[in-house]
Amino acid sequence: MKSAVTEEPPVPAPKTVKTRRFSISMVWIVPIVAVLVGISLVVHNWLQQGPTIQITFKTGQGLTANKTEVKYRNVVIGHVTTVDLSPDQKSVTATVKLSKQAENFAAEDSSFWVVSARIGAGGISGIDTLLSGDFIGADAGQSKKRAKVFTGLETPPPITYGEPGRRFTLHTTDLGSLGVGSSVSYRKISVGQVVSYQLAKDGKSVDIEIFVHAPYDAFITDNTRFWNASGVDIEAGANGFAVRTESLSSLLVGGIAFRAPQYNPNDQAAAEDKVFELFDDEQSALAPPKGRAQYLVLRFEQALRGLKTGAPVEFLGVEIGQVVSVNLDFDAATRSFPVNVGIVIYPQRLGQAHTKMLKELRHDPDDERNAAELLGTFIDHGLRAQARSGNLLTGQLYIALDFDPKAPKVVFDPTARPITIPTIPGSLEQLQEQFQAMVEKINRLPIERIANNLDANLVELHSSLKQFNKNTLPGVQGTLLEVSKTLQSANSTLADDSPQREQLTQTLDELGRMSRSLRELADYLGRNPESLLRGRPKDAPADALKPSRN
């Protein structure tokens, strides 16, 4: 392998001139293959290359040339090659090279936006960009036309990627705390969101566009009611306390909830873009459809402390309307100050009774004269209005329309407008009258004897009340303290466990009921101390009580 040559006398060796035949050597295959590989790579690259587009943004924040990627469903479909200031220096133009498969992202109605970490209505998004840097989100358009220049959105569109689902429009008087991204929930599950809102053309209402994802969009039927579920709804009305909330995010940024009424025969899925009304709260939303409103006037000869506009009007215990006005009047003839109460009732809320009645009496609901005559016959049968104490705790009154066969006959003028329904004194007033009658009867009684008895009874009552004060009331106080504690802890753990809140609502409801019955008991005991000894008489009303003869 090793051939060393020693130095020899420097004799030039004969030089052989080699004639080179010019032939193509096999070695040329090598560069040809290399060139082919190179060309194939270039061609491959060229085929992979999609359109180049330009997107203008307000700022270049988060955009880096050759670094920022364009992603669709988290798949890279292109990258930013340059970021330049626009010629008018009012915006930033990012040149984006899209890949071949993303060709339809050059459709002229495609949208692009910068995805960075942001805290928005729908929660916190884009956390990963804190680490990886911002990227451009894209949504392909449907158009067949291609464009070169796009305007980037400042905020990500709430609904992207041609997501299955349906859009609906909600009609409301004001936006409330709703905003783009506010969630739409169904049975407290978020199923969609608010995508846009705009003032109606006349400026008198707001149209809110919502998007409900498939498959939940099927739950939206023609009868579905939407209500604003923003924030905490604490209501102290004639029906007691009620606390209602939706999810935490709707607590913070507003939300819309929907549900169809319980009984809905022949309900059909709503068509896309159907317009619904947005109610203020769940109760009004789920109330039976009101139908035609009927304005009535009630004239009370008594003070109506605790009757407020909005108080419910009940017919045989069914809520059919509400108080719309409470006005003091002056009666020149009797020199008294009666109270005129304006109410609005919705006969349709009587439901089946209403439809049956209409059918039976061949009554035309649109004819007011007809309605007045109908009411006239009811009044002849003893229909009277009465202001009743609905909630002893808060002292709220409500209006009850009831048949009272014993009521004195009144003359009803069916032509008078507004239609007036005669009233009977409220329950408290009746109590006072009855108490007076009772006192008169007592006056006629052998007082001495009774007084002795009464004295003993009163002593007993005193001790009972003491006991009540000592034991029961602190208990209530303790319960209230507990409730306050529970609310505090609920506040801190409000996170997402709505079942707890639901329980809380129930508890509060029950508490309301409990305190109401406690108050009733105390009231009753105040009026009928003897019942502590004798128990409650079978016919509960106070006027049925007979003076004791012992």
Partner: protein, 214 residues
């Protein structure tokens, strides 16, 4: 060995650029084939080699002490020197990589310093000790010279790749500059050394001049 003829005996001068044996009798200053300047020995070989070697030695200190690379992972920055990189690999069990980096980055420059220093000293003394081995040593130094660039290129590649903003970022640090300078200067030193001086038994000073003296 006595039958070997040196070029100077035949009045020949080697052209360093094209390898031609030029006829020195015509007192040429340039190679008649490629036009490169002709020298019997590389000019000022010893002085230049010493200068480059010392410069490289000076740079070798900051190259090893200063960090060559800064690794940021999740906001936590960490400077690493060449040696700490080797130790890191070794502690992770990657002995092969650790050895490669150690050889290329630390052993090779150090070997070059020692080898070139040895060659310079022996040549200056006109020593005849182990001439053939020293000649081999020189060729070895020339061969391994540029492999020290390995670390520079590794840092460059890694720094170019790991750019994930806050998640992870690797940046070169000034140590790599000095390291690169060490490599460049040791290469220059090896190039300016003339191995033919190994075979000269006379003190080399007369040969720093150009060939025209012959």
């Amino acid at each position: 060995m006595t039958d070997l003829v040196e070029a100077s005996q035949l009045n020949l001068v080697l052209c360093h650029t094209c390898g031609k044996a030029c006829d020195a009798t015509r007192a040429l200053h340039e190679c008649d084939r490629c036009g490169a300047p002709l020298h019997e020995r590389k000019p000022n070989s010893l002085a230049r080699t010493w200068a480059y070697l010392i410069a490289a030695l000076v740079f070798y200190i900051p190259a090893n002490l200063l960090p060559v690379m800064n690794t940021q992972m999740l906001g936590e920055g960490e400077d690493s020197t060449i040696m700490s990189g080797v130790i890191e690999f070794a502690s992770h069990g990657a002995w092969d990589i650790a050895v490669i980096i150690f050889i290329a980055s630390i052993a090779v420059p150090a070997t070059k310093f020692v080898a070139l220093g040895l060659l310079l000293v022996t040549v200056q003394r006109g020593s005849t000790w182990a001439q053939k081995e020293r000649s081999t040593l020189y060729r070895f130094v020339e061969l391994i010279g540029y492999w020290s660039m390995l670390d520079v290129l590794v840092v460059a590649l890694v720094a170019a790749l790991v750019k994930f903003q806050a998640l992870g970022d690797i940046e070169p640090r000034p140590g790599i500059l000095f390291f690169g300078l060490v490599v460049v200067f040791t290469m220059l030193a090896a190039m300016s050394f003339d191995p033919r001086m190994i075979w000269e038994t006379r003190p080399p000073k007369e040969h720093t001049d150009e060939v025209s003296s012959h």
